[in-house]
Symmetry: C2
Subunit: 414 residues, 2 copies
């Protein structure tokens, strides 16, 4: 399978345009709204927060993915989450979609919405509507427009997050056509996202059956966005949407064949890259943390074990302090809810050139503290656990727990 | 039921003596070992960490509770956890018990052990043995000896934790005798304990059947120690032990009668008080957090909901920052794994005189920010959730997330 990384994001695929503006939702002097628009109707797939409390735009988008099953545009605002806003919040969704419908001349029920920010307040609808009109007039298919949109949806993010790939699929006449898939995201997490919410929008010019695309999204998310955690808090707004407009000209993917496998691989590549970028940009983070579990008895257990370590406050604080107090990694595996024999497993710090074993035969091992310090001083700190039980593996990503996380979240509203 | 609070701790009940010493296990210039000893043989009950990785003293004590079912003494050290130490760690347990057996002239298999501190290193057996001998010669039944023991088992704790109560039970001749139950604890948690480990030792002169006492312990722990959380990390060493020597002279409790109910209530009172003290003394804490859930459909769901809020990093950081970003409480309820209708529940900040409603009818409510700030500035910050589904309730306790938590855990070993 050949997936080629290219530069760009949501405007990389044919027929997608983006815009952004400073609508003054909450922040001053910065862009805070983004719009995506496709020249042709799109199949749409998506997954959403598992939180019982769902923000209004999540309810809105779920209906489109499950019932309308088609979309033309996405409107996103940062600063206010439109969550815990009751029926008024749903009305704000309808008004926003109506404004985009008029400005873009598309059906309102094909306008997807996203919001991220503080829970509780309603949206300033006059500014939202003005923003929608402003953006509709400045849509562009340039890479710069995609990058600007990815910046507009940031909240406490420190860097914007984009990724795009191409791959080849056969056209109806058998000739090869290039298909592009690109995306942007903000925030940190899906199962365990930061309250500043994970939003991810992926666009592709691939022609693919909607149900198959939904299947691919649900499959891919398990080993990408669902394997990252910043702080264990699952937001009310988490949203991942994939829009496919079919303009690449490939023969439609309608079965789980080689073409589907290639599409899934491309989607996996982009989702994985965006997920890792989010984990490494967790609020206040100074390190990306990676936990790889190999030779577990089941895939699900491998995921649970990897996520448990990534979610441990004590491991996270240890990585921040560059303190090789590695017994904490063992402890976090122990409360993952997975049964295993502590005398059998082996634990390593992973380096560029060599791995450092710090636990084996039921005992914490003596190790070279200087080497460990060097490994813990890398931007990416990687742990490996060999369960020695089977052949399943999984990797989870997160970040360290820092003073800045406490600072950011101790005073988020002001 | 009449339970009377009294001063004191592990030496409050008749026939229990305590001692401590500075054995130099890891810390310098502070006491770091404690010993408890009963003048008469004790029935013993206990619960232990659910972590798959269990420290050697946990394995040792479990065997005594489940098989020996009798004990005479407890030896505890702070500084080193004797966890992830393999067969060598078990040998260290046997040697420690043997030293106490000789020094106290009691069976080695009736010596309970506890360790708390860093995972990995082995115990310095010469210093442990010297400490045991030193303590055996200075055992005392004074309140001061109990308090000194409670200080000796502290690690990152900032205050020692003791509690004691008395109640009346009938003697064999029908006359009333006073029964005493007292305890000491350190650390923060049981389901979600701080890595510095929860250890709790309770002594009583009550005469009670061992199986019934074990039942009472397992019952009481669900709404006390299992309802506190500091950081979501379940230690390898968590231990709660109850020793009953029968010296009060009450007619033995052998059925689930009024006497049992009174014993259970006394145990609950002491466990609850010690649990709240631990939650409020979580690493780096500046606030005790309490989350009370009322009118839930089931007791188990009430517990899950209360624990989810107490465990939320974002709620914890918000309490530290005294920022009434109360949507985070709603969000944490939403991912508790309990189904409910967000439009029905109501959320309050609880004050001495009045409660402040901040969520109702599906919407975050406007509230008096000054009143909220005053409530968030109290040492104890209390939230209340009315689920409006049934009649079950539960309360959980925790603490805020602070810079000092990160500092303490970023550099714990040094």
């Amino acid at each position: 399978m050949k997936i080629n990384g290219i530069s760009g994001g949501v405007t990389a695929a044919a027929g997608f345009r983006a815009a952004c503006c400073a609508a003054g939702i909450k922040y001053r002097d910065r862009v805070d709204m983004a719009m995506l628009c496709s020249d042709a109707p799109c199949a749409v797939a998506g997954v959403f927060t598992s939180n019982v409390v769902k923000a209004a735009p999540v309810v809105w988008d779920k209906n489109i993915v499950q019932n309308v099953k088609a979309a033309r545009a996405v409107v996103v605002n940062a600063g206010i989450a439109n969550a815990a806003t009751g029926p008024a919040g749903m009305a704000m969704c309808a008004q926003t979609a109506e404004a985009a419908s008029k400005a873009l001349n598309i059906p309102a029920e094909q306008v997807l919405l996203g919001s991220t920010g503080v829970i509780g307040p309603g949206l300033p609808m006059d500014r939202i509507a003005a923003g929608v009109n402003m953006m509709a007039g400045t849509l562009s298919d340039t890479p710069e427009a995609g990058t600007a949109a990815s910046r507009a949806i940031m909240t406490t993010d420190t860097v914007n997050k984009e990724c795009a790939v191409t791959f080849e699929l056969p056209a109806a006449d058998g000739s090869a056509v290039t298909v592009t898939l690109g995306g942007m995201s903000k925030g940190s997490g899906m199962i365990h996202p930061n309250m500043c919410t994970m939003l991810c929008y992926i666009t592709t010019d691939c022609c693919i059956d909607q149900a198959l695309m939904q299947r691919a999204v649900e499959d891919v998310v398990r080993d990408t966005f669902n394997m990252i955690s910043v702080d264990g808090d699952t937001s009310t707004n988490d949203t991942l949407l994939v829009l496919a407009n079919g303009l690449a000209g490939n023969a439609a993917i309608t079965a789980m064949d080689e073409g589907y496998a290639l599409f899934r691989e491309a989607l996996f590549t982009v989702c994985r890259a965006l997920a890792i970028k989010m984990a490494g940009d967790g609020e206040g983070a100074t390190h990306l943390m990676e936990m790889r579990v190999v030779n577990a008895d089941t895939k699900d257990n491998a995921r649970k074990l990897a996520r448990s370590v990534i979610g441990s406050s004590l491991v996270k604080a240890m990585v921040f302090g560059r303190d090789a107090n590695c017994g904490r990694v063992l402890c976090a595996l122990g409360y993952a809810g997975v049964d295993f024999d502590p005398a059998v497993i082996e634990l390593y710090l992973v380096g560029e050139k060599e791995n450092l074993c710090f636990y084996r035969d039921g005992c914490v091992q003596a190790f070279d503290e200087e080497k460990a310090l060097a490994m813990l001083s890398e931007k990416a700190v990687r742990f490996l656990c060999d369960m020695r039980m089977g052949d399943q593996e999984a990797t989870a990503w997160g970040c360290d727990l820092t003073y800045d996380y406490v600072k950011i979240n101790g005073d988020y509203r002001s």
